[in-house]
């Protein structure tokens, strides 16, 4: 009886609350049943890009087409956009005038399925190369992006094309595209393992080292100015070196230290590095200032501690230790405290890389006789494969947008660098030709 009473009371109170809410809801809006819409197959916006008007004293149609293609390629690299062939255009193929020209007829573009229209003007003169571009959200007929770029006439116009494309990606998704970034990697294409740098689409690979020694593990400074790497060029032993294209002092990072130095990574501020150094026994993790000073030890075990990667806030490190008998991922505070094991599954987990948005740690795990790349969240709650293949996929490195990763794979026999979206789609090979290409390090956004 008591239970019944309590039940009736409960129902009464709930009814009162429910009726009140429904009444207030009806007052506020309506009691319409919503239509729940979930994503369909459409993952990419379709863009129509006009040939930009050439405002130069000496027009160069070839340069106009080349710039056009570079923008389109960079947009498609994002995985967010897909081009519409100019043959399908109902509107003008070439921009007439950004200011004072005829109005844009959005229906001309929506009829051919375009979500975006890109129009612009290019001027080449003694002062340099300049581009003005405007991007329309054709569906809402809204002027979404206006950009103006200028650079010396000697600079590569494709740099502007990629930056424009990345900003269009940002306008539609809120996250800047990464086509204007670079990827450092190791290649033995010359017969020696040297550091190379290429554009994020794999183009324009150029050597950053040529010392005919063994060079490995490149890591970018967050301002994209320098690469720290390990080289055997001095005394034929492992030392840390810095290659700089700006203000940093190139050469040995720790000139006074004659202990084996296996790897270093800049922290997100660029002021410190975490390094793997051995005092003759198993390597440990150290912290040092960017100028090589203030070296202090973070781990002190008989086990091997390697592969540090910074959390985006610079307060924690994920690294690999074999202190339990097998290589596993651990997270610790940057003062060396609060060490916590992250991976418990798999007998060989290594090469962690913390995503710039902090959500995931990519790492390689041994499955059978080869490695796959998995993602685990920093709490260790979710652990999923990024990509699996019969051959080894190794050395994951996040793009600065946290939406793409680079890794090396032997799926073609030799090792090549690939990029892939975080959801496992849009796999793309960046390197080809001779040699093994490994250890990719995705550089930061250009400044």
């Amino acid at each position: 009886m008591g239970a019944t009473l309590r039940w009736l009371c409960g129902i009464g109170m709930a009814l009162a609350a429910g009726v009140g809410l429904v009444a207030s809801a009806a007052h506020a809006q309506s009691d319409r049943v919503p239509i729940i819409v979930t994503p369909g197959a459409a993952k990419t916006y379709r863009f129509a890009q006009q040939l930009f008007a050439d405002r130069s004293a000496r027009p160069d149609p070839e340069a106009i087409h080349s710039f056009h293609d570079a923008v389109a390629d960079a947009l498609e690299y994002s995985g967010v956009f897909q081009r519409i062939d100019q043959k399908a255009f109902l509107g003008p193929e070439t921009t007439q005038a950004l200011e004072g020209g005829p109005p844009v007829l959005c229906s001309d573009w929506t009829q051919i399925g375009a979500d975006a229209l890109i129009e612009g003007e290019i001027t080449r003169d003694a002062e340099g190369f300049s581009v003005v571009a405007r991007v329309w959200d054709t569906v809402r007929c809204k002027d979404l992006v206006r950009k103006r770029y200028r650079q010396p006439i000697s600079a590569d116009p494709d740099i502007v094309a990629r930056r424009l494309a990345d900003s269009i990606v940002e306008a539609f998704t809120g996250t800047m595209g990464v086509s204007a970034t670079e990827i450092a990697f190791v290649s033995d294409r010359s017969g020696n393992k040297e550091i190379y740098v290429m554009n994020a689409d794999g183009s324009a690979a150029r050597a950053a080292t040529a010392n005919r020694s063994i060079n490995n593990f490149p890591g970018w400074s967050p301002d994209a100015d320098a690469i720290v790497y390990t080289s055997y060029r001095y005394m034929n032993e492992a030392h840390l070196f810095v290659s700089s294209r700006g203000a940093r002092r190139p050469g040995r990072l720790l000139p006074g230290l004659n202990r084996a130095q296996y790897r270093a990574v800049f922290d997100p501020s660029g002021r410190r590095l975490a390094a793997v150094i051995s005092d003759g026994s198993a390597p440990d993790l150290y912290l040092l200032d960017a100028d090589g000073g203030n070296l202090r030890r973070l781990t002190r075990t008989r086990a091997i501690e390697v592969s540090p990667s910074w959390s985006p806030d610079g307060k924690r490190l994920v690294f690999v230790s074999d202190k339990t008998g097998s290589p596993q991922l651990y997270i610790m505070n940057v003062d060396g405290g609060s060490v916590r094991r992250l991976t418990y599954d798999g007998s060989y987990n290594t090469a962690p890389c913390w995503s710039p948005d902090g959500q995931w740690i990519a790492y390689e795990t041994r499955v059978g006789g080869q490695f796959d790349i998995w993602l685990i969240d920093p709490e260790g709650a979710v652990n999923v494969p990024l990509v699996t293949h019969g051959r080894s996929d190794e050395g994951p490195s996040w793009a600065p947008d946290s939406r793409k990763l680079a890794f090396s794979s032997t799926r073609r026999g030799r090792a090549d660098i690939y990029v892939i979206d975080r959801d496992g789609s849009n796999l793309r090979r960046l390197t080809s030709g001779a040699g093994n290409n490994t250890s990719p390090a995705w550089g930061p956004y250009p400044r």
């Binding site: 129902i11 009814l15 429910g18 009726v19 809410l21 429904v22 009444a23 809801a25 809006q29 309506s30 009691d31 049943v33 919503p34 239509i35 729940i36 819409v37 979930t38 994503p39 369909g40 459409a42 916006y45 967010v80 929506t110 340099g128 959200d137 569906v139 809402r140 979404l144 992006v145 206006r146 950009k147 103006r148 770029y149 200028r150 010396p152 600079a155 740099i159 306008a171 998704t173 809120g174 996250t175 800047m176 599954d345 798999g346 499955v367 059978g368 080869q370 969240d377 709490e379 709650a381 979710v382 652990n383 999923v384 990024l386 293949h389 975080r422 959801d423 496992g424 789609s425 250009p446």
Partner: protein, 254 residues
């Protein structure tokens, strides 16, 4: 006496309790769903669509210092991802994986937490999926008084009565909008929900700009939703012109 007899019969007593319990749960469930529906519908409805601040930026790049957007134009941090109460680690293969093994999407945490593999779908679900893919509508309900259950954002599994004709139109409208809505990979399977009120005329044309009744927290996602609705215009002619509610959830498996 019958009551006494029932009380004397353990099985009958149990059955009676079970029925009472069931009735009670049905009523409680109905009340809770009504309440949740009330909460969902009574949320304040901001009028204007705020365009992302980044959108009309004019920027002159310095060749020595390439352009970058200001930090202020970054979108607000997405809602934190759900964390399961305990660690759930998918079983690792002990043998090299076959090449044809499907790759689970990393973001789809729900799949890891509460696996709902598609293979477990009933024949009806599969048939519905097939019809949806073919752009067909659902078969008409068996009885004119039948109800169509449509989940509401605030009350998963909640039901509300709509006529078979309306349910059929809603289904066709959903397929139509779904096709027009572009969802880039970065938005898929994120915790984003946008509620839009769309005014339709008798021919299904979207009248004016759809009004966002509930934002997702990511203005670019919200803009994409509005873009999708407008691109879908005209929708199939609605049962009656006026305001219709659409809720966009970027979760494939919802």
């Amino acid at each position: 006496m019958a009551g006494v007899a029932m009380l004397d019969d353990p099985a009958a007593t149990l059955e009676s309790r079970r029925r009472r319990e069931f009735r009670r749960m049905v009523v409680v469930s109905a009340v809770l769903h009504l309440s949740a529906l009330g909460v969902a519908v009574s949320r304040p409805a901001p009028r204007a669509i705020a365009a992302p601040a980044a959108i009309s930026v004019e920027l002159v790049s310095d060749p020595t210092k390439p352009s970058r957007p200001a930090a202020a134009v970054r979108p607000p941090a997405p809602a934190p991802k759900p964390k399961p109460a305990k660690k759930v680690l998918p079983a690792r293969p002990t043998q090299p994986k076959p090449k044809a093994q499907p790759k689970p999407a990393p973001e789809r945490k729900e799949v890891v937490i509460e696996p709902k593999p598609k293979q477990e779908k009933s024949l009806e679900d599969l048939l519905a999926d097939f019809r949806e893919e073919q752009g067909e509508s659902a078969p008409p309900a068996a009885s004119p008084t039948a109800t169509a259950a449509v989940p509401t954002p605030g009350a998963p599994g909640g039901t509300a009565r709509v006529s078979p004709e309306v349910a059929d139109w809603m289904r066709r409208a959903k397929i139509h909008v779904k096709r027009a809505w572009v969802v880039p990979p970065g938005f898929r399977n994120e915790l984003l929900t946008t509620h839009v009120v769309v005014k339709l005329d008798g021919q299904g044309n979207v009248v004016g700009t759809p009004e966002i009744a509930r934002r997702s927290g990511n203005p670019w996602y919200d803009e994409g939703v509005v873009r999708g609705i407008q691109k879908a215009s005209p929708l199939p002619p609605p049962p009656e012109p006026g305001d219709w509610d659409f809720v966009f959830i970027p979760e494939d498996a919802y």
